[in-house]
Symmetry: C2
């Protein structure tokens, strides 16, 4: 008998009819003889509705109260799903994050789960009752309600799976699984049956927004197999698990991309140990996240530093960069917010040479000049003009034989 944790996202519980379908799916798992706990998100756009209410009260709502407000969204979902299960004759009981004791840090709006008490959860499952748990929420040491950030229900599900030592944590969503690249862009994109945690982390971080990044990290840390699958269509989805050393990994798992990039380059920086820090410090002090960072040696004794930021932060980052540039005599700033990033990911790259060559040959055939290149053990990221992103990915998908 396996123990499964299933998580249903907002689109899967977006209406009373959909909640009834979820109840049917949960009942089916039970009929197969598996033990199950369910985690749910807030219904469809209900979180947005709550955010709008708060926006009517304050431009910067008190974070503690925001969490009290937002957590009602999941509470509605758990009550309705538990009702729907009871209605089908499946014994079920809902639990808020506070009732199950999902303990978190006390940073409101983006708390981190520190512990999940399992006593009540285990008793419930042992009694043949399906626990229906509110995702996204927890409780801090003062008994105050916390939330763990948007998309955090994935992380709640993994935390529950870890606590219950579940055999698998299934994330049911509106996509069929993880593809070699976005199927809306490349129709030949292929569904991956299996992918390693590491690859998934690189893909998710790059914008394959199937799973919340933290949930994958969490699952990897505690080695809980994660499965992403559709809550609407049949199929096995994609299993995300530890790399199997006995199976030869494919060279490349997929191509991720991200349109929201903006590039800043300061040329002619002095070659001193502190120059990178001096440039990046005001950017991070302004809470702007920096993604790619590339330092290259240019003319004798000088360095060029390039980095990318989210396009929303472009103007502010540019302002800080301009100020910093003025402090280095002879340094010049160039900026470009019409760029996009693509990334080829695969654990196979570790042992196979030549992926980079294939990648740049493909780009060259298309006449595309990479603006920035950054590599890790299992990933090569390339910044290209946004206008050519789509055609680049289509060609790469073909040239790297991902279809």
């Amino acid at each position: 008998m396996r123990t499964i944790v299933q998580k249903y996202g907002g689109t899967s519980v977006g209406s009373v009819e959909l909640i009834q379908r979820v109840a049917q799916k949960v009942a089916a798992v039970r009929e197969r003889g598996d033990r199950i706990a369910v985690v749910v998100s807030a219904m469809g756009d209900s979180t947005d509705r709550l955010v709008d209410l708060a926006a009517g009260i304050s431009r910067e709502p008190n974070p503690r109260e925001m969490d009290v407000l937002l957590s009602t969204g999941e509470q509605v979902s758990i009550a309705l799903l538990a009702m729907a299960l009871c209605e089908r004759g499946v014994p079920a009981r809902s639990f808020t994050g506070s009732q199950i004791r999902v303990r978190t840090t006390n940073i409101h709006r983006r708390a981190r789960i520190t512990d999940v008490e399992t006593k009540r959860l285990r008793e419930t499952i042992d009694a043949g009752i399906v626990p229906v748990v509110a995702g996204f929420q927890g409780i801090d040491d003062d008994g105050d309600i916390t939330t763990i950030g948007r998309g955090g229900s994935d992380t709640s599900a993994v935390a529950l799976a870890v606590a219950l030592k579940a055999d698998e944590c299934q994330i049911l969503t509106d996509v069929d699984g993880v593809y070699t690249t976005d199927p809306r862009m490349v129709p030949e994109a292929r569904l991956l049956k299996r992918i390693s945690f590491e690859e998934m982390l690189e893909l998710a971080g790059q914008g394959s927004r199937v799973l919340h990044l933290r949930s994958v990290e969490f699952a990897a840390k505690y080695n809980v197999p994660l499965r992403v699958l559709s809550s609407f269509r049949p199929g096995e989805g994609t299993l995300i698990c530890k790399e199997d050393p006995h199976v030869e990994a494919p060279l490349i798992s997929g191509i991720a991309f991200n349109r929201d990039e903006a590039q800043l380059t300061i040329a002619g920086l002095p070659d001193t140990p502190d120059c990178v820090a001096r440039v990046l410090k005001p950017i991070s002090a302004a809470n702007i996240e920096v993604d790619m960072i590339v330092l290259a040696t240019a003319r004798d004794g000088f360095k060029d530093l390039s980095f990318t930021v989210h396009r929303d932060d472009f103007l502010e980052a540019q302002r800080h960069a301009r100020h910093v540039t003025s402090q280095f005599s002879g340094a010049t700033l160039t900026a470009d917010d019409k760029v996009a990033k693509l990334a080829v990911v695969g654990v196979g790259m570790r042992s196979h040479a030549g992926v980079a060559t294939q990648l740049f040959e493909s780009l060259a055939r298309q006449g595309v000049k990479a603006q920035l290149i950054s590599t890790s053990e299992i990933k090569i990221s390339v910044l290209v003009p946004e206008a050519v992103l789509e055609s680049c990915i289509r060609c790469l998908h073909k040239d790297l034989r991902l279809a």
Copy 2:
């Protein structure tokens, strides 16, 4: 320095704008130097919306889950009001029934408050922070969320006032206070400055739906002065408190009425000790509430039993009554669902004779025949044809010099 508990109902917190007005009123109490705790209901029709959602899932939703669902309504209100107070610079903190530990019995949908822990509440007030508490909800011994029935937020407020030993519990609502009778029916109706708990219980029970009955009982039991006042208009409202033996009570406080009555009379019952019980047993077994009960001696050795039920229960009650009547040979059933009840209430009646005489003289002048009469120490109730209810009350209000 006084300690005040204020309760704002659903219409008072029906929108973001109204919540901001409530925040303003709470801030004003604090500026006067009083200590304050606030209890709020769910926003406007949000409870109805939640009930509709549940109705889409099940005709008889699981009661435990219904409470989990319904309690989100108040949780939204407390978060928004606490935000609005913080936004105005008034330190505030929201608390759910579970956080403040409003302990109740475990009868879902109509739990009863057994205890309110005051530690956190007192600490909050002592720290100069306004606690904003969710009405209507509590927690049972298993940590499950309970609700105490519609209108229960009034009772939550009184329970909090009792626990905090507050000087006054103020119920802010959409009426100005308690009137001698419904001002929509009698324009000369007068706002009562003060009324005793007993009188209020008789008035509320009779349909002056200003306050939830249980909250008045609770306040009377622990002797917490209650004040009903408008959250929209200025004014002192009506103070409901213990009868002051040093003040001569007015003869009559007011006239209550109830249109939703239906009358059943079984004539010709045998004069045996068990006959009333035999008649009423099947009615109460069907969970039908009986209001007035009048037993009169008729022909030698026989009794006539009349009782009234809510008009919604008329057909079912009639069915049971018909069955019972058939068991007594010679007994006959008459039924009338076009009746209404009026009641004259006043503690002064205890010591003043003649109110009944004035009442029936007034009715006689109007040519109205009372169909049933029932009296208590401080109340006289009369069942009249529904068609004449309004004119009766207008004349009585004048003849009894209530204006």
